[in-house]
Each structure stands twice: as structure tokens, then as C-alpha cells.
């Protein structure tokens, strides 16, 4: 560390910050801030509110625009509403071959299948990697880590050929079966990390009591890894709900469309004349993701902070 004498003002500001911070934690209502620290805090909040406002503005504007008549959307950058216009929602809901709810149900089926698949197969693989000794473990673990980084474009063409030859194009199987086979290695890794944090004494005690691996896995490990399972569930939900590429390739029959492909078909069919109903259905499509975000935030933040999943 260099020992450069700094200007007295700067040193004072820094030292006052350190002397205050522990006291602040003890009594949050304490107003004995120094003026410097308070101004610094105000500037911080101003920056954050400004940046946050810009970040969130487009989304709020989309919500408001979906409640406006079409001709106003192109003239109103503001967020005020004179009167609620619900026709965008009713028009949008029935603009395609099927009511929009049909596509939501399709998406829900794919999402549910993917969640069940990921929970079962990834937790099983993770248990083996975290707790069992077997030949080739290091090699397989390395391969598993590498598959996290493999671009899916390298496998998509043969996968498509494979699934089309067994007649699975325009079914939900190509979107669900890979999850049943633990191909989302991210979650395997996340669960391995989590299981490593569970004390080994617990399974050793169970083994002394005569439990085999299936029993230890089901009765000891699984109940303790609920936070990791919740993170997996939430991220699988959001990713699958938003998945466009897979659905675009495998689902070409309008009956089978999931929400993203249906939205895209909507864009094409409307040729940008009715932004209002397009926005309305976009809001509808984002609503489940937003709900999951609201209720799952704690797990989302923890999951992303520990392993860096998106």
C-alpha cells in the first residue's frame, strides 16, 4: 500500500464515513451523519433514481400505451392516461387463429414439463457428482462444466433431424425431453455446489442407520436442497417461457405455438398497424414472468449471485 498524504478534506471525509458506518447499522434512525456523508448519500440516491427511472420507463410506457387508443400511442411519450381503453386487450386476445389463452396453455405445458424434467434429472446427477465416488468422476464433471459453455447451435441441426425423424416436430417433446435428460448443466452445477454445502455427517448418520443411496438422496439431501430446487424452478420457468429459438424451430403449426412464437406471428400479421393490441398481448405474455419475479426474488438474487445464471 502506498503511503501518500492526501488533501486533508478528502481524508476527513473518508474517516468520518468509517466512524459512522458501524453506528448507522446499530440505529438506523440516527441522524448524526456528517454533512459530507449526507450529501454523498443524496447524490447517490439521485443517480440511482435517475438511472432506475430511465431503465424502467420503457416498460411503464408499454403498460400505459396498451391502455391507450392506437392514434395516441404515436403522440404520447408521457405516462398519463385520460381514460382506460380496454379494447386493445380484447382485440389482441382474439387477433390470431386461437384466443391468446390457447398459446398461454401451450407455454404452460412446456414450462411445467421442463421444470419437472430439470428438477428430477439435474438433482440426481448433482447427487452423484457431489456425494458419490466413482470411476471417471473427474472426467465427467469436467465434461459437464464444458457443456455449460457449449453453444447450442452446434447441436441444433442434428437434434432437429433426430426429432423430425421420430416425428416429434410440432409436438412439445423436443422442448421437454432434453430437460428430462439434464441437458441444462447449469442447474446440475448449481445443485452440486449446494449439496457440497450440506454437512456430510448427515448422510453418514443415515448410512449408519442402514439407509441406501436412494433413501439418503430422497430423505436427507432433497429436503435440504429446497432453495436450490426453487432457484432451478424459477429460472427454468422464465427461460422456458421466454424461449423463442427452440419454439421457432420445432413448432410451426399454429395449434402448437407457444407464447413467443404466437407474439411473433402477431407482429407479422398486423404489419405494425395496431401497436396497442400488440403491446397488450406483450404485457399479457410478460405477466407470468413478472409474477415469478415478484414471488421468487429472494431465490433469484441468491441463485444469480452464487453461480451467475441469468
Amino acid at each position: 500500500m502506498t503511503k501518500i498524504q492526501t488533501l486533508p478534506a478528502a481524508t476527513e471525509a473518508e474517516s468520518s464515513k468509517t466512524s459512522k458506518s458501524p453506528r448507522r447499522r446499530e440505529s438506523p434512525g440516527n441522524l448524526a451523519f456528517s454533512r459530507n456523508a449526507r450529501i454523498k448519500g443524496l447524490i447517490k440516491h439521485a443517480i440511482l433514481i435517475l438511472v432506475g427511472g430511465i431503465m424502467i420507463y420503457p416498460l411503464l410506457w408499454m403498460v400505459v400505451s396498451s391502455l391507450r387508443p392506437n392514434d395516441l400511442i404515436f403522440r404520447e411519450p408521457g405516462l398519463w392516461l385520460n381514460n382506460l381503453e380496454m379494447s386493445n386487450y380484447t382485440d389482441g386476445w382474439s387477433a390470431l387463429t386461437h384466443p391468446f389463452g390457447h398459446y398461454m396453455i401451450n407455454s404452460a405445458i412446456v414450462v411445467l414439463g421442463s421444470i419437472v424434467g430439470n428438477l428430477i434429472s439435474c438433482s440426481m446427477a448433482a447427487y452423484a457428482f457431489a456425494r458419490l465416488q466413482f470411476s471417471g468422476k473427474k472426467l465427467f464433471f469436467g465434461i459437464m462444466l464444458l457443456t455449460i459453455m457449449l453453444p447450442f447451435h452446434v447441436v441444433i441441426v442434428p437434434q432437429y433431424i433426430l426429432f423430425s425423424q421420430i416425428g416429434w416436430v410440432n409436438t412439445f417433446w423436443p422442448l421437454i425431453v432434453p430437460k428430462l435428460l439434464a441437458t441444462d448443466a447449469f442447474f446440475v452445477f448449481l445443485m452440486v455446489q449446494f449439496i457440497r454445502g450440506i454437512p456430510k455427517e448427515l448422510d453418514e448418520a443415515a448410512r449408519i442407520d442402514g439407509a441406501g443411496h436412494p433413501r439418503i438422496f430422497l430423505r436427507v439431501i432433497l429436503p435440504l436442497m429446497v432453495p436450490a430446487l426453487a432457484t432451478t424452478t424459477i429460472f427454468t420457468f422464465i427461460w422456458t417461457w421466454n424461449d423463442f429459438f427452440g419454439a421457432l424451430i420445432y413448432l410451426t403449426d399454429p395449434d402448437m405455438f407457444t407464447v413467443p412464437v404466437a407474439l411473433r406471428a402477431f407482429v407479422d400479421s398486423q404489419s405494425a398497424t395496431s401497436w396497442g393490441s400488440l403491446f397488450a398481448m406483450s404485457i399479457v405474455s410478460l405477466f407470468p414472468v413478472f409474477l415469478v419475479f415478484l414471488f421468487g426474488q429472494r431465490f433469484l438474487i441468491k441463485g444469480i449471485a452464487t453461480t451467475g445464471i441469468k
Binding site: W241, L263, A272, I301
Partner: protein, 314 residues
């Protein structure tokens, strides 16, 4: 520890097996393979099998209807002379080399502002994180298309101060920039990883620096940045790999054709057009392998360069 950290320690540690490891070897083989069965099947059927198949197809001419015709390295030679492919590479490289550093810089700055003890931290964190969750969706891409349209939100705001904005999405000079902005907008997820990393830096370092009279800037350069370098590296590797594969935003914003005048023709979009638009599966496979090589090279460069700037505390 992160997946990337784990991988780098795995490649670093090459010691012999310990006695315990040798004794333990083979003890749970049967049970382990039962637990691994779904993953193993997936590895063979969904990952490694298709990888080998795609490598084979990259040397063939295949349109799904007739059996693949072996053409040797023709597809790769064709790639050399394919001007649209070169353009798509330029577009993708611009996107990655501008978008990723910009996004990470914003994420780092906001994470630094959101430090410990700040009031309303969970609220701010949520606001900044939300776009990351929604950013990959078709709905947000549709929103972006309107915001940067000729009569879109951005131009409405500009008109209020008397500026006639261009048609951002319809102008080849600004279309890619709009999509890069969408990428920067989703800085929330790397920000949260930075926040977690900042938590890990022991406070005593800062206290010691203060005793020595270090300025805020000095503390940032001498403590925060080196201590955070593994996290920066992790975010960099992940974001680069992810950004090379971007697809949805370009597809929706350009209406699926990479326009205007191919200015948003991402490599993956071109690959999609070749493979699933024209059923030129051999060429698409060759492109996919080329993408894998590019990502591999970038990741390797990252790992090699990391020796000079990433600081491990262990």
C-alpha cells in the same frame, strides 16, 4: 465457486490421487451410474452424438430430403467467399466487442454505487435486475422495435426539444446500435454478480488503506479492482459466450431478415436462415462449428490473458 473458477482450478491441479481417493475409487460405481443415467443419456443422445453428427454434416451437402452428399471442405471454402457471412461476422463482433464491455462497465458502476448500508438497496436492485429477466423475451424486442421506430418513444421525446430523430431501426447506421443498447439495458444480472463479489472483499483492506491515507480513487484501483478481478473475468467469459449466441432481439427487431441492408444480420440469424429457411443443413452445420471455434478462441484468449490481470487470493 463459479463454474469458470472450478474449471480453471481443475486444469491447474494435476497432483496424484490421494490415498483416500484411491480407496474410495469404485466404491459407489453402480449407484453413481444409476443417478447419472438421465444425464449420461442426455450427454450421448442430445449433446455429444449431435455434435459428432454436425461435424460430419459440415462436410456434406444435405437438404433433409436426399441423403447427405460428401463434399469435403466445400462448405468451409464457400464460407470464405460468402460476403453475407463476412458481414454477419462483422455485425456479431461489433455487438460483442462494444456491447459486452459497455454492459459490464455500467453493471460495475451501478454495483459500486449500490454499496453496503445504502437505504432501499433491495428496491434499487430489483428495478435494475428486472430488465435482465425480460430482455430476452419477444415482448421486449417488440417494445424496442417501437421505441426506436420512426414515430417511436425516443423520437417523440426528441421532438419535444425540437430534434427530428432518424428512423433508428430502419437506418442501417443506427439499427445495430439500438440492439446493443438493448443488451446494455440488461446489465442487471452481471450487476448482481458484482454486488456479491464486492461483499466478499474484507473491510480491513479499506480500513488499512484509510490509515495510510488513500483516496477513494486509489482504493478503487488498488483494492476493489484487483479483488474483484476474478468476478470481472467470470462475467466477461459468460457474457461473451452468451452474446455470440444472441438471436431473439435481432430476429424480432429486423422482422427476421437481418435488415436494414443486413445491418442486424447476426451470425446466428444467418445460420438460422441457411439451416431452417433454406434447409442448407450442411452449410449451417459448418457455420455452427465455425461459431464454436470462434467462441473457443475467445474463451481461450480470455483464459490466457487472465493470467496477467486476474488476481486470485488463494
Amino acid at each position: 465457486m463459479s463454474a469458470i473458477g472450478e474449471l480453471s482450478t481443475m486444469t491447474r491441479r494435476k497432483g496424484p490421487m490421494t490415498k483416500e481417493e484411491k480407496k474410495a475409487n469404485g466404491r459407489d460405481n453402480k449407484a453413481a451410474y444409476v443417478f447419472l443415467l438421465p444425464w449420461l443419456i442426455g450427454l450421448v443422445v442430445i449433446t455429444v452424438g449431435p455434435m459428432l453428427m454436425s461435424l460430419y454434416l459440415s462436410f456434406t451437402d444435405y437438404n433433409l430430403l436426399q441423403p447427405p452428399q460428401w463434399v469435403g471442405i466445400d462448405n468451409f471454402v464457400r464460407m470464405f467467399g460468402d460476403a453475407r457471412l463476412h458481414n454477419s461476422l462483422r455485425v456479431t463482433f461489433t455487438y460483442v466487442l462494444v456491447g459486452v464491455p459497455l454492459q459490464l462497465a455500467v453493471a460495475l458502476v451501478i454495483a459500486l454505487v449500490l454499496d453496503k448500508g445504502l437505504r432501499g438497496l433491495p428496491f434499487y436492485r430489483s428495478i435494475f435486475y428486472l430488465p435482465s429477466l425480460l430482455g430476452g423475451s419477444v415482448a421486449v424486442a417488440i417494445l424496442w422495435k417501437q421505441i426506436f421506430g420512426t414515430t417511436g418513444l425516443v423520437n417523440q421525446v426528441l421532438a419535444m426539444i425540437g430534434i427530428q430523430g432518424p428512423g433508428w431501426i430502419s437506418d442501417p447506421n443506427t439499427a445495430l446500435g439500438s440492439i446493443i443498447l438493448l443488451h446494455v439495458w440488461t446489465f442487471g444480472s452481471p450487476m448482481i454478480i458484482f454486488l456479491a463479489g464486492l461483499r466478499q472483499i474484507p473491510n480491513m483492506y479499506y480500513e488499512a488503506a484509510e490509515v495510510d491515507g488513500a483516496t477513494t480513487l486509489q482504493k478503487f484501483w488498488r483494492i476493489t479492482l484487483p479483488m474483484l478481478s476474478p468476478i470481472i473475468f467470470f462475467n466477461l467469459v459468460l457474457q461473451i459466450i452468451g452474446s455470440f449466441q444472441s438471436f431473439t432481439q435481432a430476429f424480432i427487431v429486423s422482422g427476421g431478415n437481418g435488415g436494414p441492408s443486413d445491418s442486424t444480420m447476426f451470425f446466428t440469424l444467418y445460420l438460422y436462415q441457411k439451416g431452417f429457411g433454406q434447409f442448407d443443413m450442411g452449410y449451417a452445420s459448418a457455420m455452427a462449428w465455425f461459431l464454436l471455434v470462434i467462441i473457443g478462441v475467445f474463451t481461450a484468449i480470455n483464459f490466457i490473458a487472465s493470467k496477467y490481470w486476474v488476481f486470485y487470493d488463494d
